[in-house]
Amino acid sequence: MRAGYYGDYGGRFVPEILHATFEELTGAFEAARVDPGFWAEYRAVMGEYSGRPTPLTYAGNLTRHLGGARIYVKREDLNHTGAHKANNVMGQGLLARRMGKSRVIAETGAGQHGVATATMAARFGFRCTIYMGEKDVQRQRPNVFWMEQLGAEVVPVQSGGRILKDAINEAFRDWVSHMEDTHYVLGTACGPHPFPAMVVWFQSIIGEEARLQILEREGRPPDRVYACVGGGSNALGIFSGFLDDPVELVGAEAGGRGLETGLHAARLASARGVPGVAQGYKTYFLQDPDGQMLETHSVAAGLDYIGVSPILADLYERGRVRFDAVTDDEVVEALSLTVRTEGLIPALESAHAFALAFREIPRFPEDAVVIINQSGRGDKDIFTVADALGDLKWRDFIRRKAEGYRA
């Protein structure tokens, strides 16, 4: 197997100018990976600063309501900055410091990765620039606000569809001009080698903890693990703990307005994604017959992405991970149910995992056990969710607030 390949997927398709940078990064990552001191430092930072280990919460009310398997929720929302993104970002921050970099850049869709990167930069003293599609800047203003307060420069990307993939292109363009002092903190398990391996390594802390926690609670691994899949970092993080167990691993993709409408981001579940090479790696992309990437849609900005981790593409082909899609409507419904029955507020991204689990759990025997990865918390989505629910009191509040600013 060639380095950086997972079956037929992965690789490193970058302009020659980035060759030396990727060699440097790969070297630093390989050295850190075999250095027990590095992982110990990483765990210490995650414990002291991010609040790990995150709990595994038994969702008794949902379990009774759905009448199937016992449901556990892995609480990545309780990480500092509110999502699993912290795991990857703090790890890459430690690596960037080891490489002597003074500046970090990142792309962000929903904004969680941007906030996490800006937080890490503030903590480690890096200068920080965040690229974000203009469309995502519009729908995720609270996260933009915090990135700026944290001292990051947020650059709205006007090119392409003005979403996550365009922010990635722009971050690469920045990197090719500033690689001596800059590390690109790629946000998910995609991109050129070694990013997929590196991001999954840092995110594997989710699966490592979840496995220990479920063994302690149930005395055995779960029957199924559900996670949402944009790029795939939270999914691979939790799945990696159970790859060697007889556990069914299920990825929930963004079905958007329905697979038949074409307005979705379901690369694998729709059977519309086909292998291709873009953004520096080979995987399944939503693309037209000419190889041009298609526009994607999801109510969750973080899932609105054309590609999927090459590691997941391989696990999909090998039948190790099953993929299905849920629609925006199902997601909002699942979110409401989770909020009302458990007092948990998953991010719209994570709510995809809940929605798919809820669809399937009633058919499970009662002694079955499932884990749902709550990759992030939902308060960032208040505007989107309030709109989706048509909440009149919220609308009234925003109207009054706007009038207050006008006066």
């Binding site: 398709f13 970058v14 090119s159 690689m179 090479v277 953004q279 990437m293």
Partner: protein, 253 residues
């Protein structure tokens, strides 16, 4: 073969000019008028970019042209036919520049065959490193087409020699870090880099990224064989159509 054509041309001129345009931008007919103006201004070779939705190595001017061409419905088939029309109408070498996903989806052998059948001389694929490129490079070479290899200022001398082993036609030396269309310093650093390039290969050297005036071209004389103009040419074309592009190219000489 491309190298032979270039060597013949270099017997008459000490520095050749390769111009860049994006197929389908602003439109196919305007593109042909632009090529006509380029040829009239003495351009020696043209790289026709097949637009891609994720043009990672391109700066804002060319990235926007890619996007506009696609919004206006340009397909790969139309772009190839456009290139064929140009190659038939003008007696200079035409190359295709695009990103790897385009030939990959088209089928590597079919794509190479399409270039050969249309009279094109080679392909520049900036996101296809030689480590990943053997199938594509082989498909091109078997048809007498040149896969163009790129050097960058950060390419080590050892790596330059490795890349040179896979190179054909000429070597494209990226003048600086960064994407197309930003400022390049034509200074001692660039001169030393071009010396390293020269030591690594006997193929003609083309220098691109950031060329914008006569002084830049003057700097390259004696240091390289081909000057590549892209973004600045496109800016001129956007300002005043093919006529301005022609004036710009004539002033370069």
């Amino acid at each position: 073969m491309l190298e032979t054509l270039l060597r013949q041309r270099l017997e008459e001129k000490d520095l050749l000019v390769m111009a860049h345009l994006v197929a389908g931008y602003p439109s196919f007919p305007e593109g042909l008028r632009l090529i006509e103006a380029m040829v009239a201004a003495g351009v020696d070779m043209v790289e026709i970019q097949i637009p891609f939705s994720e043009p990672l190595a391109d700066g804002p001017v060319i990235a926007r042209a890619n996007q506009k061409a696609l919004e206006r419905g340009a397909t790969v088939g139309q772009c190839l036919d456009f290139a064929a029309e140009a190659a038939q109408a003008f007696d200079i070498p035409f190359l295709v520049m695009t990103y790897y996903n385009i030939p990959y989806r088209y089928g590597l052998e079919a794509f190479a065959e399409a270039l050969r059948a249309r009279g094109l001389k080679g392909a520049i694929l900036p996101d296809l490193p030689v480590e990943e490129g053997s199938a594509c490079f082989g498909a091109l070479r078997r048809r007498g087409l040149s896969p163009i290899v790129l050097f960058s200022p950060l390419t080590s001398p050892e790596r330059m020699r490795t890349l040179a082993g896979a190179a054909d036609g000429f070597v494209y030396c990226v003048a600086r870090k960064g994407v197309t269309g930003a400022v390049t310093c034509f200074d001692n650093g660039l001169a030393a880099y071009l010396t390293r390039c020269r030591e690594a290969t006997r193929l003609p050297l083309a220098v691109g990224f950031g060329l914008k005036d006569r002084e830049d071209i003057g700097f390259l004389r004696g240091r390289a064989e081909i000057a590549v103009v892209g973004s600045e040419l496109m800016r001129c074309m956007e300002r005043g159509g093919p006529e301005d592009a022609r004036r710009f190219l004539e002033e370069l000489r």
